[in-house]
């Protein structure tokens, strides 16, 4: 491991951290604006032009607010839980190729921190670890709403995680590799995966997309921290920057999932041209927008409905999908 490689990796890590922390903040601004427009309101308008600096105002508020550790909580776990959520969200980003490689000052840059050969497995695994944030935070909070939310989190987690894993099995069988870079190269030659194998890819795409909503806890499956039932769930007892970390983790997760979906199913960044990179960003923007869009349009489901959906509908469909993919590849 030479020094240049080390420096390059450190720079990449810092850049990704900075960009996606900022994006998480701007994401909240877009969420408010999009929701407001869809509900025929204006959204934030007073801090900065068109409310653009609202993010900064929120940041100032979160950073300067008192960090309250309530009595009866399990102090150490209570303090570490938000860090788990935020840290795992960013750790998952290590295996995501954000852009095609490009040349900067005669030096070839690969915008991926580590192209490990178990890429997608690593990403899903780390995102799964992220669930310990809500789970531990909720259980350590000494608050019944938080406890309910932690219980829901655990129940939901085992449901959707099965679907996530099974749904990407078919694409993995097609590509024969777990690295997202290999996924991208496969799709350059064989076309986008959602159009491959007579609809098998498309079904896998839909299943993964649905599971992504559960993974990030967005609206149709926003039941771990459902404001109108259990206040803020695991976040009820948190204040200031600790709560902010949960928030950053959630939004960073949304962005990363929005990267993973097009990389897996929609051709990724294509052949590495500038146009391909733009197309990838466009796809990411669409998936992120879709998260906000559904929040304005769709109602939430109950936990039992989500589990019913995952176990009785999506999992059988995913299994059948994998079997069909196997047969198609055999003959």
């Amino acid at each position: 491991m030479d020094t240049a490689y080390l420096i390059e990796t450190v720079i990449k890590v810092v850049v990704i951290l900075l960009i996606f922390s900022a994006l998480a903040g701007i994401g909240t601004y877009f969420e408010r604006k999009v929701l407001a427009f869809m509900q025929r309101r204006l959204g934030p308008m007073y801090v900065g032009p068109y409310g653009l600096l609202q993010v900064a105002a929120d940041g100032v508020k979160l950073f300067t607010k008192e960090d309250i550790i309530p009595t009866n909580v399990v102090g150490r776990i209570f303090k570490i839980a938000p860090v788990i959520t935020a840290a795992t969200a960013f750790m998952a980003a290590a295996a995501i190729p954000f852009l095609p490689s490009f040349t900067l000052f005669g030096y070839e840059v690969h915008p991926i921190v580590a192209d490990i050969n178990i890429g997608i497995l690593y990403i899903l695994g780390i995102m799964g670890v992220g669930l310990y944030g809500p789970l531990l935070g909720g259980m350590a909070s000494a608050n019944k709403f938080s406890l309910l939310s932690a219980a829901r989190g655990a129940a939901v987690f085992i449901s959707y995680e099965v679907v996530t894993g099974l749904s990407i099995l078919a694409p993995i069988m097609m590509v024969g590799s777990l690295s997202l870079v290999d996924f991208n190269n496969y799709q350059i030659e064989n076309g986008w995966i959602i159009f491959n194998m007579y609809g098998v890819g498309f079904v896998a795409f839909i299943l993964f997309w649905i599971a992504a909503f559960a993974e990030t806890g967005r609206t149709p499956f926003h039941l771990i921290a459902n404001d109108h039932e259990i206040i803020d769930g695991f976040g009820t007892e948190y204040s200031g920057m600790r709560w902010g970390l949960f928030f950053i983790g959630e939004y960073a997760n949304m962005f990363f999932i929005s990267f993973v979906i097009p990389l897996l199913f929609l051709g990724g960044y294509g052949d590495g041209s500038f146009l391909g990179a733009l197309a990838l960003l466009g796809k990411v923007a669409f998936f992120f927008f879709f998260f906000l869009w559904t929040r304005a349009a769709w109602p939430d489901v109950r936990p039992d409905q989500l589990m019913w959906l995952c176990w009785k509908v999506l999992m059988p469909v995913a299994v059948i999908n994998v079997v069909i993919a196997g047969f198609l590849m055999m003959f």
């Binding site: 869809m38 509900q39 025929r40 204006l42 308008m45 869009w293 559904t294 304005a296 509908v313």
Partner: protein, 205 residues
């Protein structure tokens, strides 16, 4: 305006309609059919389209409150005003104390004294807005149309007792001179066209 639409209470004729709700499926096959139907009817996308359309049309229905304000009705019961006579610009209040008597939250306090012309004059008059419920009884009971409600509703205060003084409520004299005093149309006001309904007092007793 005719009141027909408000007086017609028989709404079942034209207002209500029966929502069709099917019985819940009991057998497994029926349940399965319902799931398949719901999955492939694209109702979710109808919802998506509705909100997207609202976003594109961009016909917002809110107002930017501190800069814009909703027009309020002339009968709106907000912070009180004390009116002056049109003829002499003198204060209308005769210090009868009826408003203090009727106020159901006991928030008006009035004190009077005899002035140099041997006339009754209001020396103290306060309304505790922290207790006032803006019921309008004071405006209704006032025989002189002196105390009325006004249109000022931005009366936030940093304390619970917020007193409104007589001088603050009274129409300023320069505004009165300019003829800009507005009569209150709500509680206690004279009904329109009252002049035509007044009968001459028979003098020949």
């Amino acid at each position: 305006m005719n009141n027909e639409q408000f007086n017609n209470r028989n709404v079942s004729e034209d207002g209500y309609f029966q929502v069709e709700i099917k019985d819940y499926p009991t057998t497994g096959w029926d349940k399965f059919k319902r799931v398949v139907q719901r999955t492939f009817r694209i109702e979710l996308f109808v919802g998506l389209w509705v909100v997207l359309r609202e976003m594109i049309v961009f016909n917002k229905h809110t107002i930017s409150y501190p800069e814009e304000k909703m027009p309020i009705g002339p009968r709106y019961r907000a912070v009180h005003e004390m009116k002056r006579l049109w003829e002499s610009d003198a204060e209308r209040c005769i210090g009868c104390g009826l408003c203090e008597k009727i106020c159901i939250s006991n928030c008006i306090r009035i004190d009077t004294k005899i002035d140099e012309n041997s006339r009754k004059e209001v020396s103290e008059y306060t309304i505790n807005l922290g207790r006032c419920i803006f019921c309008g009884y004071c405006a209704e009971v006032c025989p002189e149309l002196a105390i009325t409600h006004g249109g000022e509703y931005e009366n936030a205060s940093d304390q619970r007792e917020h007193f409104l003084l007589y001088e603050d409520m009274l129409t300023p004299i320069d505004k009165m001179k300019a003829g800009a005093q507005l009569e209150f149309e709500g509680f206690g006001a004279i009904t329109p066209h009252e002049d035509e309904r007044v009968k001459k007092t028979p003098l020949a007793y």
